[in-house]
Symmetry: C2
Subunit: 140 residues, 2 copies
DNA sequence: CTATCATTTTACCAATTAGCAAAATGATAG
DNA sequence: CTATCATTTTGCTAATTGGTAAAATGATAG
């Protein structure tokens, strides 16, 4: 029992995993979408997702070619539910979380086929553009 | 910000530290009381307490020869407050936590001077006695 | 001021973990 | 069936962490 609690707390105690959980608060995502936003190797993301699943924090579903993850809705583990509730009220103003959400909003426009193939390159131009660079059509 | 959250979550994600926090829910305790119940080396306990303090989960107070720790009451860190609330509703039926509380109830009868000097030996006879050993005055 | 004693810090070891690259898996499309 | 492609698993390395023993600290009592 204390072991279960520990598993969940450990799963939450990693910044990349909390970032993933905060992303999933917006609804389910496929692995390559998560990978694009968090910017780790696919293997690394998969391992994190596995840790979250083992803790009962997320669930999986295959849809065609892709695997989608979402926050656990079925109550597998009461500890997990409580941690998810805590997390929902936390970090909403965290710069990294805000940035991830912003990036995700761009990612959402990209068809999965293209996104999975190209990864971050599919959105790179948007990413590197800071704010008000004098672009396209400003008078010489 | 996410770093603070991570610090708190990491602090909670260790079973010996959660045991300490659950003990402190009953009120402040001096280091040697905690050491006796958790049964780690003093150095180890001190390090755990330091991690909890760094996370804003506990506070310190010196009283004469001894240092007392308690759950953070001043709101140092909103994350910490939330985790403490979560923890208060968790693990209350956990065997280890229950056992720790039981042991603490015995420890509470022992003057600190004796407890700090003798450590677990001061309560050892109670600890090893299971339940109904045929003791003192049962007919031959 | 010195000795004592609770606590903290330090030095070190064993175990765990996050990360990547590359191989393995397993589903889909032809 | 075979090829492709998303995801997972598998070594492997570097870094972190929990534990102890022992030295250092710092307050108290004589």
């Amino acid at each position: 029992m204390i072991e279960t609690f520990e598993t969940v707390a450990k799963a939450v105690a990693d910044p990349n995993r909390t970032r993933i959980l905060k992303l999933l608060e917006g609804g389910e995502l496929c692995v390559c979408q998560i990978t694009t936003v968090i910017n780790l190797s696919p293997g690394g993301i998969s391992k994190h997702l596995n840790a979250l699943k083992a803790a009962g924090l997320v669930q999986q579903r295959r849809g065609g070619k892709w695997v989608y993850y979402r926050l656990a809705d079925r109550e597998i583990n009461p500890n997990a539910t409580q941690f998810l509730a805590l997390l929902r009220d936390s970090l909403n103003d965290d710069p990294t979380v805000v940035e991830d959400r912003e990036l995700l909003s761009h990612v959402n426009f990209i068809p999965l086929g293209i996104l999975c193939a190209q990864g971050r390159a599919a959105i790179a131009p948007v990413v590197d553009e800071p704010l008000s660079s004098p672009c396209c059509g400003v008078s010489p």
